[in-house]
Amino acid sequence: MAIVGIVEDNKKIRDLIQRYLDMQEGMQCPVATDTVEEMLEFLEEHQHPDVLLMDIQLPGMSGIKGMEVIKSKYPDIDIIMLTVYHDSHKIFDSLKAGASGYLLKHTSLPEIKESIENLLKGGAPMSPQIARKVITHFNDQAPKKNENSMLTSREQDIVNGLVDGLSYKMIADRFDISIDTVRAHIRNIYKKLHVNSKAEVIAKSLRGEI
């Protein structure tokens, strides 16, 4: 049974997603709050959801900040960011904060459900826009040379493929691997992005930049 939580300040949207997910077999959505703060309170006292759907623009703590906080306390929770805009800057920020993927809010309910299932199976979506940002991000990191947080050459291949506009299927064909492997790689890239950004934050704070 996958447990899903929602943080979304639009009550109607929140209720609809919650009710729909609750109706699905193998899914349960016991908590839907309109702020990160309420979700944190819930997490302290209850079993953790496997997946959190999280809006970005929220009253109180922003979704991006909230993601950082939740990820630092409960690293096992997968967070999917819900966004109104297809805004690559915000999406990328949320990925750095630890999101495992993102969904546009008007995505249909069956698709939302499918994305959650995919995520739990180990998949994660990445668009060309995001892929390009990933490349720039890791290139900027290159001089710092932290081997563990740099992309492997296969991961680099996959990101390059995404920038070229290849589908997961085409990337899988090109490198003779399965689509699931591509997904797993992308998932790993997200993880590195998060680790990397954390390291960046620490380095910055040592230098007194933040």
Partner: protein, 960 residues
């Protein structure tokens, strides 16, 4: 009937390996990794504004505790190799370089034309005498005296002992002194007079001169063979035989308290009351060769080193021990002195460590200890030291270790031991509640007797004879075997209570998972993170013999002066809680439960997850020097303004102000408060160094900021910035337009009517309207779409279902269009890279499911190149139209998308290999739209249908 089975072991013969202890002291390194321009530091000064200046082998650095500013040749320096830096009485910062000397005022480098002839010399020292004359010491050409626009050069020809002059100084009698490589020279009343080894100097190679601040007749001299003191008649010499760390002394620095610090080629020495205290790399200094030393105004000592950058010594108030310096384990849980005065350190996993005369000895399970996981130590009035472990209870007496066997004392996880006034002991256990232990007998108290929880961490007897007990279910007070429980309703900040204390006045204090609290006779009064503790979790609380409370948190130690805390004077109140963290030398910020101890010398021991820190309260003076607040950047809608009283256009209403403070002791623990006139009714407190005001209304503003250091001292100064935001002339009808547009809800309004709006800032307005529409209308449409999904999930007839599907699709289509419009007019997405990414995304969504093979030809584009918003918008919408046409009408399976640009003009091509769909449909509305959009961006579109359908668009990348 209890049988007494004690295991007695003679521990003195069983103690483990000895290890010579080497404690480390709190040094903080500023080298290349931290931003210093080079790791070889020749000279350091602090200027009158508080900045530290560091002359390095490559670049001059100006440092405020957080950020470095650099000066190199490209900034106007005669050479990037800087040797010395000096602040003159007029505030000029003089810098001596490989090629002469210059000065800096307001961060600009100036040359003094009179000093041009000095540019062939390496200037290794600069000095200003009491008459305002400047002195420049050179590496090979004596010393240059500059006064009244004239230069005099003095060399060995004039009586100088040597031509390499390392330092210049002046004594109270008006004599100027020169440290040369070949002796010490005095200039007095126009006469040069030199001193050498035959006069009593230990060496002729002199490095530094410092008059004694307590008696400026006396000169202290750093030589290549020790320290020398000259009182006008005789030289008194101090060498390594007297305890000096290394004979080759490079530099001297006086500290305000009268300590003299010596930088040598083998570490540093502190000279106090005739004896030396030495620090080398073993104690945490980050290099052996130290070129220079200086005391800053906060009382810290800076060392400039060869290869290790600058090393900041924060004072000798912390001494740190961890596994590197000899501990068996870093999880230090408790400390206690035994009857002989030996200090025992308990670790969780590494048994016990004793420390006497600087030597560590170990007591492990191999030597008979019940368990290496020790929780607590306690020495009772009978001189027995009790050991509470995860696996039972023991004590040491007269060098014997006595383990209580399971029958005698059947409880594990002993977390706390206290002695009762009436004799006997109170033992706190983690699982079995509280146990009263009277040598042979025990009585157990658990929830059955009324204890709120069986996890008991500590207990203390109060003056009235009742016992206060810290449990994970709150505080319990036991009187005559009956319990009274204090929980959240009685003011306990969190029922997870970890430590309990009776202070010198008899007041009961507790530390909990949410700060500390004291009992006022009726209920508890808390002091938490919100009141200024550095962390939320209070692992321990202790009062030292001076009445100061020490609170160990998950984020450093708090020093609480309770009288100041309840002072009515806010400035006194601000200084009540002082924070000690790893930044000031504490070994780690995460304390351990109950791990605090004041030894018989009134030194404090703090146990952490990474070792133990010994704290010398007598050396700690706090940081009484206020930080200096300053504004570092003022930005309006992304643009920086440096002018005073800037007048800004109405649309520059996103104000962001960066500020910081000059503080070196704990730059990251500085707190700020700021306020914007007419906006903030009160000071806003923050630890961040930025204040943001999005969409400020028009008007005149003054922004003020102050800073507070880790000891609670506020800056004297208030940094401020003033500016004016002009009112927008179109404000009222802009608003009207927004309302009308929103009601009409027709996007075409601002596409069709844009001539009407051209006079105003059209992009900005579009973004606003579109975003607002998108947010409001988009959210509602999303609701509708989701609602339709939801309904479809239930069973209903198929026709009905179909309309629902259509409603959902339609809503999503509108939201997508809105999203596209918002994107295309959002100025942040204005590079070719953004555009091509978006195109790829679109194709991925639209053509990919239709099995088209898409080839991109964007290789020659410069992805960072910016494109004007109207070009981007129209180009993207034409592209979309074309892709939609292909998706709808083409029977092909291949699409080429390409774009080329030479920086000023571009061509964009979409080509598919379909053969159908020619004719009426393609000349319809869609194609007319494309033509219209091409015209809008002053471009042209050419559509052909040989070998498939081809659209070529040409235009300019500039607006005009």
């Amino acid at each position: 009937m209890l049988m007494k089975y004690y295991f007695i072991l003679i521990i003195l013969t069983l103690l483990g390996f000895d290890s010579l202890m080497a404690q480390t002291f709190p040094f903080r390194t500023y080298s290349i990794e931290q931003g210093l321009s080079e790791s070889v530091v020749h000279d350091i000064i602090q200027d009158s504004d508080g900045y530290m200046w560091m002359a390095t082998g490559f670049g001059l650095n100006k440092f405020d505790g957080l950020e470095f500013k650099y000066f190199y040749e490209e900034d106007g320096l005669l050479s990037s190799q800087t040797e010395t830096v000096f602040e003159a009485s007029d505030g000029k910062i003089w810098v001596g370089t490989l090629n002469g000397a210059q000065y800096i005022v307001d961060d600009s480098v100036y040359n003094d034309p009179n000093l041009e002839s000095l540019n062939v010399q390496t200037v290794i020292n600069i000095y200003e005498d009491s008459e305002g004359g400047m002195w420049f010491a050179t590496e090979s050409n004596g010393v240059w005296h500059y006064i009244n626009n004239r230069i005099e050069i003095y060399t060995t020809n004039n009586g100088l002992a040597g031509n390499q002059v390392r330092d210049i100084s002046e004594t109270a009698d008006g004599a100027i002194w020169f440290a040369t490589r070949d002796g010490l020279t005095q200039l007095k009343n126009g006469n040069f007079n030199s001193f050498y080894t035959q006069d009593g100097l230990p060496e002729n190679r002199i490095r530094d001169l410092e008059p004694d601040p307590r008696n400026e007749q006396i000169l202290w001299i750093a030589t290549r063979n020790g320290l020398s003191r000259f009182d006008g008649n005789t030289f008194t010499n101090y060498s390594t035989d007297d305890g000096l760390i290394n004979a080759r002394v490079r530099d001297l620095a006086w500290q305000e308290n009268g300590d003299l610090w010596l930088a040598t080629e083998g570490g540093v020495s502190r000279f106090r009351n005739g004896s030396f205290f030495n620090l080398s790399s073993e104690e945490g200094l980050n290099a052996e060769i130290v070129y220079t030393a200086i005391a800053d105004r906060e009382g810290n000592i800076w060392f400039g080193t060869f290869g290790g950058g600058a090393s900041l010594f924060l004072g000798s108030y912390f001494e740190n021990y961890d596994t590197d310096s000899g501990l068996s384990n870093n999880l230090v849980t408790s400390m206690a002195e035994d009857a002989s005065g030996t200090l025992w350190i308990a670790t969780y996993g590494g048994g016990l460590i004793s420390r006497k005369n600087g030597v560590f000895e170990y007591l492990y399970s191999q030597q008979g200890l019940l368990d290496n996981r020790v929780y607590t130590l306690f020495t009772d009035s009978k001189k027995r030291t009790w050991i509470g472990m995860r696996d039972g209870l023991s004590y040491m007496e007269n060098g014997n270790l006595i383990n209580l066997d399971e029958e005698t004392f059947p409880f594990r996880k002993v977390r706390g031991i206290t002695e009762s006034e009436k004799g006997g002991y109170w033992i706190s256990t983690y699982d079995d509640g509280l146990v009263r232990w009277d040598e042979n007998e025990y009585t157990q108290f658990t929830t059955e007797q009324g204890l709120p929880d069986n996890t008991v961490l500590a207990s203390v007897e109060s003056d009235d004879g009742s016992l206060w007990i810290a449990t994970y279910g709150g505080v319990a007070r036991m009187e005559d075997a009956s319990f009274e429980v204090y929980g959240v309703n009685e003011g306990v900040p969190n029922i997870g209570v970890m430590d309990i204390l009776k202070d010198a006045d008899g007041t009961i204090w507790i530390s909990t998972f949410n700060g500390v609290a004291w009992f006022d006779g009726v209920q508890f009064v808390d002091i938490t993170f919100e009141d200024g503790l550095p962390g939320r979790v209070g692992y321990f609380i202790e009062q030292d013999s001076n009445g100061i409370f020490w609170i160990g948190t998950n984020n450093g130690i708090a020093r609480l002066d309770i009288d100041k805390y309840y002072s009515s004077d806010p400035t006194v109140r601000d200084e009540a809680i002082q924070i000690l963290q790893s930044e000031q030398g504490l070994i780690a910020n995460e304390a351990n439960l109950g791990a605090v101890y004041e030894d018989s010398n009134q030194h404090l021991w703090f146990g952490t997850v990474d070792g133990v820190s010994k704290f010398y309260p007598e050396e700690y003076r706090g940081n009484q020097i206020p930080p200096r607040a300053k504004i570092t950047d003022f930005r309006a809608s992304g643009r920086s303004y440096t002018n005073v009283n800037a007048v800004l256009e109405y649309d520059r209403d996103f104000i962001q102000i960066d500020f910081s403070a000059i503080n070196f002791t704990a730059p990251n623990l500085v707190t700020y408060r700021y306020r914007m006139s007419n906006i903030d009714p009160e000071w806003q407190y923050t630890t961040e160094r930025t204040a943001r005001y999005p969409s400020l209304p028009s008007g005149s503003y003054k922004f003020e900021v102050q800073a507070q250091n880790s000891s609670g001292v506020w800056s004297y100064n208030t940094a401020n910035v003033q500016f004016t935001l002009k009112p927008p002339f179109w404000f009222t009808w802009w608003f009207l337009t927004l309302i009308i547009s929103a009601i009409a809800g027709i996007l075409y309004l601002f596409y069709r009517n844009n001539q009407y709006m051209k006079m105003v800032d059209i992009e900005r307005m579009r973004v606003r309207i579109a975003s607002d529409l998108h947010d409001d209308v988009g959210a509602s449409l999303t609701e509708v779409a989701l609602q339709s999904d939801f309904l479809q999930a239930s069973s209903m007839d198929s026709e009905f279902k179909q309309s629902l599907t259509q409603i959902g699709q339609q809503c999503r289509k509108i939201v997508t269009s809105l999203d596209d419009i918002v994107w295309s007019i959002d100025a942040r997405n204005d590079t070719l890279g953004d555009l091509t990414d978006r195109m790829q995304d679109y194709i991925l969504n639209v053509l990919e499911p239709l099995q088209f093979e898409v080839t991109y030809n964007f290789e020659e584009l410069k992805m960072e190149e910016r494109i004007p918003v109207p070009v981007k918008e129209n180009l993207y919408l034409i592209f979309k139209e074309a892709i939609n046409n292909i998706a709808k009408y083409s029977n092909g399976n291949k699409v080429d998308v390409g774009m080329q640009s030479n920086g000023t003009s571009f061509s964009f091509v979409i080509h598919d290999n379909g053969t159908s769909g020619k004719g009426a449909k393609k000349t319809g509305q869609g194609l007319r739209n494309m033509q219209m959009r091409a015209q809008r961006m002053n471009g042209s579109v050419e559509i052909t249908d040989q070998d498939g359908f081809r659209i070529e668009l040409k235009g300019k990348l500039t607006l005009n």
